[in-house]
């Protein structure tokens, strides 16, 4: 079974500053990894996913994430955030031989002007 840990419940950051949202996973098998964003009162929108290949994955809205197998991490980064990036971000994992997405508890990104 997989588990996903998001190390920060909230991350405050000023507009145009860089940000990193941390995610660690544990699994006895190879996994696929995902980042989702959830705006208030809305569903989950896929930001990016790692299935295989290059460990640096680029997603929508200028976000990227790097898969680090040795550290079992999949941290999300953006070099310059906007006010509109204020939302909750969820890291998720799914085993390669299964279909169940397991989510972390979420990180609230608050971008301040």
């Amino acid at each position: 079974a997989q588990s996903v840990t998001q190390l920060d419940s909230q991350v405050p950051v000023f507009e145009e500053a860089p940000v990193e949202l941390r995610c660690n996973y544990s699994s006895s098998v190879s996994v696929y990894l995902f980042w989702y964003v959830q705006y208030p009162n809305q569903g989950l929108q896929l930001l990016l996913k790692y299935l295989s290949g290059s460990t640096l994955v680029k997603g929508i809205n200028g976000f990227e994430a790097e898969f680090n197998k040795s550290q079992t991490s999949f941290h999300l980064r953006k070099p310059s955030v906007h006010i509109s990036d204020t939302a909750e971000y969820f890291c998720a994992a799914c085993s390669r031989n299964g279909n169940k997405l397991v989510f972390g508890a979420g990180t609230i990104l608050r971008v301040k002007s």
Binding site: V4, L44, L51, A92, N99
Partner: protein
């Protein structure tokens, strides 16, 4: 292409009343999921369907929750009777192949 459609968006009911949620997945997606998201937490899987067969319902509280996916397309999730602790957002998702999950906007249930 239409996304995953859920209704209603919001529902307020009194405890002990029944409630039902509806989900229409993306056309052609064989796998359908119901997740529950409690306030301040990540979504947790309640049930997964492959076509019309429930293949993982281990986290579904079967004493009060039920689900069906007739003809392998639309799905309904029902709670009867609802309890205060059932207040949450209920998310439906579908996928056609690995890595292709799409979520609906969810139904926010408030039990009073």
């Amino acid at each position: 292409e239409a996304g995953v459609v859920q209704s209603p968006r919001y529902k307020i009911i009194e405890k002990k009343q029944p409630v039902a949620f509806w989900c229409n997945p993306i056309s052609g997606h064989n796998t359908l999921y119901w997740y529950r998201q409690n306030l301040g937490q990540g979504p947790e899987l309640l049930i997964r369907y492959e076509n019309e067969e429930a293949v993982d319902d281990s986290q579904l509280p079967k004493d009060r929750f039920s689900a069906e996916r007739l003809k392998g397309v639309d799905s309904t999730l029902k709670i009867q009777p609802a309890e205060l602790g059932d207040s949450a957002v209920y998310l439906c998702a579908s996928s056609g192949h690995m890595g292709g999950y799409t979520f609906g906007s969810g139904t926010r249930l408030t039990v009073v």
